[in-house]
């Protein structure tokens, strides 16, 4: 399994955990990306300033990585732009309906021992695995 990258996965995961812990420690907020983004989008909402600051950091983090490492971003997309639009709509609507995504439920909610987050995380991981099975194998993929 030469595609298995445990060291970088662990370093990256630790950084994500430190980021979410810093946010709670200093600002008392949950680092849920879908909640932070929609908080900026939704009209007449307060707290747009701190959310925008977080998002600026999120977008600049990879830019910093490129600057320091001298390597480009590895982003390989299989989905066509059209399929990406369908997926994006489902993710945008679904994360609002379900009150969170991988970060808010998976990293922060589980750390708060929230039973809603345990369930949501299990449901979206299993659903995503079934979706990938259908698109990669059942529908004539490799």
């Amino acid at each position: 399994m030469d595609y298995f990258t445990p060291i970088s996965a662990i370093i990256g995961g630790l950084l994500i955990g430190v980021a979410a812990t810093l946010m709670l420690w200093t600002h008392g907020r949950i680092t849920g990306i879908s909640g932070i983004v929609s908080g900026v989008l939704i009209p007449n909402n307060t707290g747009k300033v701190w959310r925008t600051c977080f998002l600026a950091g999120l977008v600049l983090g990879p830019v910093g990585y490129i600057a320091i490492s001298g390597q480009g971003l590895t982003i390989v997309t299989q989905a066509s732009p059209l399929l990406s639009v369908v997926a994006g709509l489902a993710v945008g609507f679904g994360t609002r309906l379900g009150s969170g995504c991988t970060s808010g439920h998976g990293i922060c909610g589980i750390a708060r021992l929230s039973k809603r987050s345990f369930l949501a995380t299990a449901v979206f991981i299993v659903t995503a695995m079934i979706t990938v099975y259908i698109t990669q194998h059942a529908m004539g993929g490799s």
């Binding site: 595609y3 990258t5 970088s8 996965a9 990256g12 995961g13 630790l14 950084l15 994500i16 955990g17 980021a19 979410a20 812990t21 810093l22 709670l24 420690w25 200093t26 008392g28 907020r29 680092t31 983004v37 929609s38 989008l41 747009k48 998002l55 950091g57 999120l58 977008v59 983090g61 990879p62 990585y65 971003l73 590895t74 982003i75 997309t77 299989q78 989905a79 399929l83 369908v86 997926a87 994006g88 709509l89 489902a90 993710v91 945008g92 679904g94 609002r96 309906l97 379900g98 009150s99 998976g106 929230s114 809603r116 369930l119 949501a120 449901v123 979206f124 695995m129 099975y133 990669q136």
Partner: protein, 152 residues
């Protein structure tokens, strides 16, 4: 010196904002180094019947290795460093919205290999699929707001 000022009619604590920005920066760096920013890597993790790549399970496990003890300790404090109180989700009960939202999110995540954090972190790549995904994700969030939240 008073470090509270007003931006866009909002009271903001500039000292806290520096930490919030730093948190975003570390989060984006973590998504990049871990490989989660790459949809092909995410699909490799979700593809358990194919050439399964367990890397992203380690991303989640090591993230939780920090947040589980970290949150436990922090939530025992009276308040965060730069705010008067903690802002935590209020809902405790499992409902149909939670489950159906998670199902919809899972379908979208599996179709594109993108969830909100990595998609936003990846926009500077200008990849057309990432940009289409992000635009549609924002539209989906607004759609949810106007259909289900904006009416009282």
């Amino acid at each position: 010196m008073d470090d509270t000022s007003s931006v866009l009619h909002e009271k903001v604590n500039t000292k806290a904002l520096v930490w919030v920005f730093l948190s975003g920066l570390l989060f984006g760096l973590g998504l990049t180094i871990s490989g989660m920013i790459n949809p092909a890597k995410v699909i490799g993790f979700l593809d358990i019947t194919g050439n399964w790549d367990p890397s992203l399970a380690l991303v989640m496990a090591s993230g939780l290795a920090v947040t589980v003890p970290g949150f436990h300790f922090i939530l025992k404090q009276k308040r965060p460093l730069f705010e008067a109180r903690f802002f935590l989700p209020g809902k405790a009960d499992i409902d149909l919205q939670l489950v159906s939202g998670a199902v919809l999110f899972g379908i979208g995540w599996g179709l594109a290999g993108l969830c909100p954090g990595p998609a936003l972190a990846g926009i500077t790549s200008l990849d057309s699929s990432v940009l289409s995904f992000v635009a549609a994700m924002l539209a989906g969030m607004l759609l949810h707001y106007f259909l289900l939240e904006s009416r009282d």
